[in-house]
């Protein structure tokens, strides 16, 4: 029976049928054998019912196909997971850790990597479905906020900054940072961004930095504290000009992306943004946004990145975690994830190079009117080095978050 299941699994993920048997395959068989019967505690942000439902679906799949049980541990903040692994390492717990797989990227990944809280490098690239990953056009699947992943995390989905507006109130959205400033000036109180260090707020700062800095090449290296002030002067000039015209005059800020979305729906704000191009379509389906909402990006592109799953060094179900990570990369799982009715999160795969059957899955997909096509989404600007985040947040807090100035 189990053989049959594995055979079925092989068929569905389209692996063994498509590739010649190699040493890698027999290694993977060992992984599948080891994984059998394991329970994977997958710590992942649990704030979006659609995502939770998707994780449940994927968990059912790997249970049926590979006899791996996946339990979604819903967390409110990934940093608490880092904290947990850190505490385990502090007391020398090198196996049997509480976290088997974590949904992660950016600073949290950098923190785990530098503090050696992750499993041995290389596992991600050895996953069978890795061959479908678009390493060419989506370089961020290999480099997470300029930090090389070294195969310590496996890509799951793509994120890109997109703005949302309601066509019932606004005809032509401002398609550049300057146009946005002009819009805010003539429509005071109708735009804002979540307060850094909220992830979305920081992302907006990064976008504004990318649009204002003289030489973007310095962003791929760690911040030079001596240069920082000069390099960010145009950014803070922009923000100084923008803030008096923000929602609540910049004295209070939206809490997070969902709050921004709500403010857009309630017509408190005219422009909101998201880090998921399919978010607006999903929210329309959900009834969270009016059907007249559309999305847009800045000319010249917006900042984007990849989100991943990583295995902590002391996971007790490393093989099971790999099997789940591999399944998340399968064309079927990636296609479902991209469906706005299910989640609406763009794929990390190279759809053009997929086998015909799998490619057809993506080609027939209806992304809904509020989702931009890959062409409309424009170029993706790379994330700055994580050290910029800390420096930006600190500088922001000093200028705007300290009260009374």
């Amino acid at each position: 029976m189990k053989r049959l299941l594995i055979a079925a699994a092989a068929l569905i993920s389209g692996l063994f049928t498509l590739q010649p048997v190699s040493a890698q395959d027999s290694d993977w068989k060992d992984v599948l054998d080891e994984a059998k019967g394991q329970t994977v505690y997958f710590h992942a942000w649990g704030g979006e019912p659609r995502i939770n439902a998707y994780i449940q679906w994927a968990a059912r799949e790997v249970e049926n196909l590979y006899d791996v049980r996946v339990v979604h541990v819903k967390v409110s903040d990934t940093a608490s997971v880092v904290s947990q692994v850190l505490a385990e390492k502090s007391v020398g717990k090198t196996s049997g850790g509480g976290v088997d797989l974590v949904w992660i990227n950016g600073e949290n990944f950098a923190a785990m990597k530098t503090n050696e809280l992750l499993a041995e490098p290389g596992w991600a690239q050895s996953l069978p479905n890795w061959t479908y990953v678009d390493t060419e056009n989506k370089p961020t699947v290999l480099v997470d906020f300029t930090v090389p992943t070294d195969g310590q995390e496996s890509p799951w989905g793509m994120a890109k900054l997109v703005f949302m507006f309601d066509t019932a109130r606004l005809d032509t959205p401002p398609a550049s940072l300057d146009a946005l400033l002009a819009y805010a000036k003539s429509n005071p109180g109708r735009f804002s961004y979540p307060q850094p260090p909220n992830f979305y707020g920081t992302t907006f700062l990064k976008q504004a930095l990318l649009n204002t800095i003289a030489d973007t090449s310095v962003l791929s290296a760690p911040v030079d504290p001596d240069q920082f002030e000069a390099q960010t002067a145009p950014l803070f000039n922009f923000l100084d000009e923008l803030h008096p015209h923000l929602w609540r005059q910049g004295q209070a800020f939206p809490k997070n992306a969902a709050h921004m979305r709500q403010l857009l729906a309630d017509s408190e704000m005219d422009i909101a943004f998201s880090f998921n191009p399919g978010d607006a379509s999903g929210a329309i389906v959900n009834g969270e946004l009016p059907p007249t909402v559309r999305t847009f990006v800045f000319d010249g592109g917006t900042v984007g990145n990849t989100h991943f799953v990583a295995i902590p060094f002391n996971s007790s179900a490393q093989e099971g975690a790999q099997v789940f990570a591999n399944h998340l990369l399968s064309p079927m799982a990636q296609m479902r994830k991209q469906d706005p009715e299910i989640w609406g999160d763009p794929t990390v795969l190279n759809v053009a190079d997929l086998p015909a059957n799998e490619k057809a899955l993506f080609d027939t997909q209806d992304l809904r009117p509020a989702t931009l096509t890959p062409e409309e989404l424009g170029p993706t600007l790379p994330e700055p080095h994580p050290s910029w985040v800390t420096a930006l947040e600190q500088a922001w807090a000093t200028r705007y978050g300290a009260g009374g100035q």
Binding site: H43, V82, G98, Q251, K255, G287, G403
Partner: protein, 566 residues
């Protein structure tokens, strides 16, 4: 523990064993990093650097001042409202009616109350929608800073709305002792006005009973996180809310500064308590002559109406907030200026209910066990101490209350390490033990005064008739304390149900409760989901308080003096 007498010290020993480890571990997990010691991050030198880093944080002074003032003002105003209302209306029909509303409000979790309140008063909120655009002319919500104002007014109001029911319940319990009723009669017969009679005669009698809870309220209000995050200012935010952000920052080195901040937070709470004690001393001094002057102040009609007005305002605000939450739990789309949702849906509710039975079971089992253990332990401790005719020693009291005074997030890192070291983390038992650390102080808080104020003569009479110690406890003392014991159980249950971080961190995600589930889901900000889980979270404590109120009513049908007739 110099004079060890097995009988009298066994419960103390158990409490010490139960708490000393966690408290020491929690303290070590806070104090050591605050002085630069956190080896896993490569910090091994004892230094004041974390404090330097803390004090260089922008806006730290404002954050500290905000925590201090909002907490202190909210506590004082709440106390004033409760006392004025009790003074003006206790013993009347109105008082009973209002108290019937207020007690269940205690079971509303702080976060849920804050979310409801925020939606009630926001410019695109429920009240604005009821009046727009026909009365206000607001086709779109006005850009008004009502929630998250920089001075923390909205946050203070939110805290008041939550602390009033708590203090009221305790005042109610204090007022319900038989001798208080006779004092009221005496004051009235001497011609004192209702309010002046209360403040001059009754308050000095009952104040000792509400003093300790009042200090806990101050400690809580000055270090509150959830209400601060939802209603409080953000530029900068109050200290406790910023600590959580630093503690959770991906830049792990910020943890050192956050630990130093936790000690500062401890100082803020202690400072607020000191200021309150000073205020108390001044009021006592100033009023001592006035109390004896004998002014009757009979015409207090305006004062009484004001007291009633304030109380009704708070009760209505809370009830409206709850109503709004209930509507949201059924709303698919609900956009300004629609006073009621455009699209209704029970999907969130049914989804939650489908997933919940097991989660609900875990939550209830944890809560009931924590409540039973903590209450029994407290009773045992109090009984033994009374029997040995010695007070609960100071160190033990301090030990019990430390978990309430230290910011949880810093405390928990040390606690987590302790559980990891003894290899217990991730189990139900571990979570239960962690809950007890935070539940026991409340059980002790709620029970120790009612216990100490028992009339000792009943026990003596029973003893003189030859009753054994156990018999006295179970047949005389416990029945007379039924009400406070039940209230304690309900409070303990509510506290256990409310634990988020301890459950998540010690449970390692293996133990899922309604609260861990709701906080995780609410982090996405979907109002419908948030509302559904806030209501679920409210359900268990609400049931607890309802049972605590119902049992004595049934038991004491034929015991007039034990009945609650305010």
């Amino acid at each position: 523990m110099a004079k060890f007498r097995p009988g009298s010290n066994l419960p103390s020993l158990i409490v010490v064993l139960l708490l000393a480890g966690p408290v020491l571990a929690g303290l070590a997990g806070t104090v050591l990093p605050a002085f630069g010691y956190l080896p896993v991050l490569g910090a091994r030198e004892i230094t004041l650097e974390p404090f330097a880093q803390l004090f260089s944080m922008p806006g730290l002074l404002q954050s500290t001042a905000l925590s201090f003032w909002t907490g202190l003002v909210a506590s004082l105003v709440s106390l004033a409202i409760v006392l004025c209302f009790s003074a003006a209306w206790s013993g009347t029909q109105t008082f009973q009616r209002v108290s019937r509303f207020l007690s269940p409000l205690l079971s509303v979790p702080h976060a849920a109350a804050a979310i409801g309140l925020a939606f009630l008063i926001a410019p695109s909120g429920f009240l604005a929608r009821l009046l727009s655009p026909w009365a206000t002319g607001w086709e779109r919500p006005p850009d008004l800073l009502l929630v998250n104002d920089p001075y923390g007014v909205a946050m203070t109001l939110g805290l008041i709305a939550k602390e009033v029911p708590f203090l009221f319940l305790l005042t109610l319990a204090a007022l319900n002792r038989p001798e208080i009723k006779s004092y009221t009669k005496v004051a009235a017969s001497l011609g004192y006005g209702r309010m002046s009679g209360f403040f001059k005669v009754i308050l000095p009698q009952i104040y000792p009973l509400i003093r300790l809870p009042m200090l806990a309220v101050i400690a809580y209000s000055t270090s509150v996180v959830d209400v601060a995050v939802i209603l409080g200012p953000t530029t900068p935010a109050p200290l406790a809310a910023r600590l959580v952000v630093w503690m959770n920052d991906p830049d792990l080195s910020l943890r050192l500064a956050a630990s130093a901040g936790a000690l500062l937070q401890l100082g803020v709470s202690a400072g607020a308590i000191l200021v309150y004690l000073l205020f108390e001393a001044i009021v006592t001094k100033l009023s001592s002559t006035r109390l004896a002057l004998g002014h009757r102040i009979k015409s207090d009609g305006a004062g009484r109406m004001a007291a009633l007005g304030t109380m009704v305002f708070i009760v209505s605000a809370m009830c409206l907030s709850l109503l709004v939450l209930i509507i949201w739990s059924l709303a698919k789309s609900w956009w300004y200026p629609a006073p009621l949702p455009q699209n209704w849906s029970i999907s969130a509710l049914s989804m939650a209910l489908m997933q919940t039975p097991q989660i609900l079971g875990t939550t209830i089992l944890l809560g009931v066990l924590a409540a039973l253990i903590s209450t029994s332990l407290t009773l045992w401790l109090l009984e033994t101490k009374t029997h040995a005719a010695e007070p609960v020693d100071h160190q033990l009291r301090t030990l019990i209350f430390v978990p309430l005074l230290l910011p949880q997030i810093a405390f928990l890192f040390g606690l987590k390490m302790l559980f990891l070291m003894i290899g217990l983390d991730g189990s139900f038992t571990a979570v239960l033990l962690a809950h007890l650390v935070f539940v026991l102080p409340y059980a002790f808080l709620a029970l120790s005064d009612p216990w100490q104020r028992q009339d000792p003569r009943y026990a003596r009479v029973a003893a003189s008739m030859g009753a054994s110690r156990a018999r006295i406890f179970f047949r005389v003392q416990l029945p007379m304390l039924t009400r406070p014991v039940l209230v304690t159980l309900a409070v303990a249950l509510a506290v256990s149900v409310g634990q988020y971080l301890p459950t998540l961190m010690i449970g390692a995600g293996r133990v899922v409760t309604v609260t861990t589930e709701s906080v995780a889901l609410a982090s996405g900000g979907n109002r419908q989901i948030t509302a559904v889980y806030a209501l679920l979270q409210l359900l268990i404590p609400f049931a607890g308080f309802a049972v605590a109120a119902a049992i004595p009513a049934v038991l004491f049908k034929n015991r007039t003096a034990l009945r609650l007739d305010a």
